[in-house]
Symmetry: C2
Subunit: 399 residues, 2 copies
């Protein structure tokens, strides 16, 4: 049916490639491209031999002419961007120049400000409309599936949604006293940034980790959840008409927070170089070298993730609640695609989003967040491709 | 009256030099010697101009012939060893070869085993007896004043001492989330070593920090105290006849322990080098470079130390208890000698011990621990030279 250019060769890209190869009728040909071609080749070697034809390429995703040349050569029907969020705009520019659909999983962040905001990408709306191509923003799990869940809840169960609580729980245990799934700098930023939630038309700031609850999650049990800002709050507040409260909650264990705080306290998370034996060394870089390699966590992580949304609203004039969530098992993911649940829950929805676009189910000119499309075919695909969801019409609410 | 060779130029040495200069009738001449002569010169510059004549020298305290040459040149009446505990034996050897009295503040440790034991130094007893010279071991605070307190308690208040509890509390606050007063390797060793106490003729091991109490210390308040092994337990068990239980307790705050444990967990206290940007770097060395310089803590440390001993025993057939302790204020110490209470409480007793020997009050051939001498003149000197002590005849006991 079509050709996809996949930019990136990390954990999420690996899941996307695995999953595309499961649907060779849709993904007839793919090209895996990243700065380091050997990583792309390693992925190709693992998956070659199925019906999906795989090729690889070297590309610098910061460089629009290089991207344009690659697109002109491979002639994809869609570009799946699972590179770094700093590279969203260059890849969108290349798609505009070549008239190819675009999909990503995380919104653009300028390298220097570390701000989550859609404004830069939303600014491309008119250009994409004029070019007659589609950009689908944030087709991971959160953002991504959380938006699909919201559209689905509104379509089938509510006349009005008033409150959305997104709860993201990772109960995985890698068996180390401390390790990070990804860049510790991002971990630090998560817990030191102010929280923010949406209420009555405005965003309200909280101190970092100021708002904490305990929530008893299906198949995981009671966990500390902390109110954070997360990028889908911005688009949901705009797209889910009538909603007046949206909060995002993430689990952190006391032990994890304690480790991060101590490392911050002693200066080990600083990005200011210090003088050491005549050399300039960045403490955070040295800490990364001391900590377990994130790539080593996959095979040893046990336990599950549970990510879902709790809705409160009305149907036929009656108050109504609804909780829809996915549970994902780290070890099962690893057995299936060689990555644990963190990458899996992001990669599968990226493949599904691309499938929606390639099959013409989601296709309209412009720049869109995921909740702006019909959720039903995506919800079906989640059940089919590894992220089945569960419903609870009488969930515990978060006060 | 005499000449003292002071070996060492660190925090404790600095206090010793300051205090010797307060008693020029006893310390007519001193020589400050260490591997780095510039540190000795800096001390001399600070204190020159009083009645005590000061000179400096470069010496490698691991090297007996160098030490002998220096002693033969300066001709001291006593060598005050405030260098590293690894260097006790080479300095004792040099004293034997030159027939000069010896004093130190901490017992010899072989570099590779990190074991506190007096056996190596006690083995010198006969040689010192034959040479007709005195070695006074452990003339700091603990060991040191704790032994003097014990001899004093036995001499004046008890017929028999049954139990000794030594309580060492540092309630100083340097205002950093975490810093160490000295080598973090030693801090780590303290909390990861098994505890040990003396009871009924034998030493009983505990798990690291297994035994914890809360003790309400005068002028400091209630603190967590943990049972540790400390070197004076070995000599007190031998010298305080009839004692059947000796324990040593040290305060650690929950915050301090948490920081040390996290740093250990993530591998930052490891002494195994790791590969970093093509170089071999020892994580503990890098941690030291990131942490505040211990030398910077002095001027900013507020609060007090309280170190003392609680005795239980009998007098005239009646049960009796006695608590004797010193309280030392970090900032007052710093104002007086430019070092905080940790160095001050060790350096002052070193000077007093040397004064006891130079004035002939404590002088007999052999190798002795401090509790083997008459405590009264030393107790008087403590009051006079900055470490006044307080008594309580009805203290709270530790169960």
């Amino acid at each position: 049916m079509g050709k996809a250019l996949i930019i990136g060769a990390g954990g999420v890209a690996s899941v996307v490639v695995h999953k595309c190869c499961e649907v060779p009728d849709v993904f007839e040909e793919i090209c895996i491209a990243s700065r380091t071609k050997s990583k792309c080749d390693a992925l190709k070697d693992k998956l070659d031999g199925g019906r999906t034809k795989i090729q690889t390429a070297q590309v610098d995703a910061d460089n629009v002419p290089e991207l344009v040349a690659l697109i002109n050569e491979f002639k994809p029907d869609i570009v799946i961007n699972v590179a770094l969020p700093y590279q969203d705009l260059t890849i969108m520019d290349a798609c505009l120049e070549t008239n190819v659909d675009y999909l990503d999983t995380a919104n653009y962040e300028p390298l220097d400000t570390a701000k989550f905001e859609y404004k830069w990408q939303w600014a491309y709306k008119e250009k994409f409309e004029q070019a007659g191509i589609t950009a689908l923003l944030g087709s991971g799990f959160d953002p991504g599936v959380t938006g699909v869940f919201s559209a689905y809840a509104l379509k089938h169960y509510f006349d009005e949604i008033h409150t959305i609580d997104i709860v993201d729980a990772n109960a995985g245990d890698h068996g180390y006293p401390f390790a990070t799934n990804f860049n510790p700098e991002i971990n630090i930023r998560e817990i030191t940034a102010n929280g923010r939630y949406y209420e009555n038309g405005e965003f309200i700031e909280t101190e970092p980790l100021e708002v904490k609850r305990v929530y008893d999650l299906p198949e995981i049990g009671p966990k500390d959840v902390y109110l954070l800002y997360h990028e889908e709050l911005e688009s949901l507040a705009k797209n889910i008409t009538g909603v007046n409260k949206i909060r995002f909650w993430m689990t952190f264990s006391e032990k994890y927070l304690m480790h991060l705080r101590v490392l911050e306290n002693v200066g080990m998370t600083s990005i200011e170089p210090i003088e050491f034996e005549g050399q300039q060394i960045v403490p955070l870089q040295f800490l990364k070298a001391v900590l377990p390699d994130p790539a080593s966590l996959g095979p040893r992580t046990k336990g599950k993730t549970n990510i879902g949304c709790i809705y409160q609203g009305t149907k036929d004039g009656e108050p109504k609640t609804y909780y829809v969530y996915n549970i994902c098992d780290h070890q099962e993911c690893y057995r299936e695609v060689g990555s644990q649940a963190i990458s899996y829950t992001t990669g599968v929805p990226a493949m599904i989003g691309a499938m929606m676009m390639l099959t013409g189910k989601w296709k309209k000119p412009g720049v869109f967040n995921i909740e702006e499309f019909d959720p039903d075919p995506f919800m079906d695909a989640l059940n089919k491709y590894g992220l089945p969801w569960h419903e609870d019409f009488n969930p515990t609410l978060i006060d």
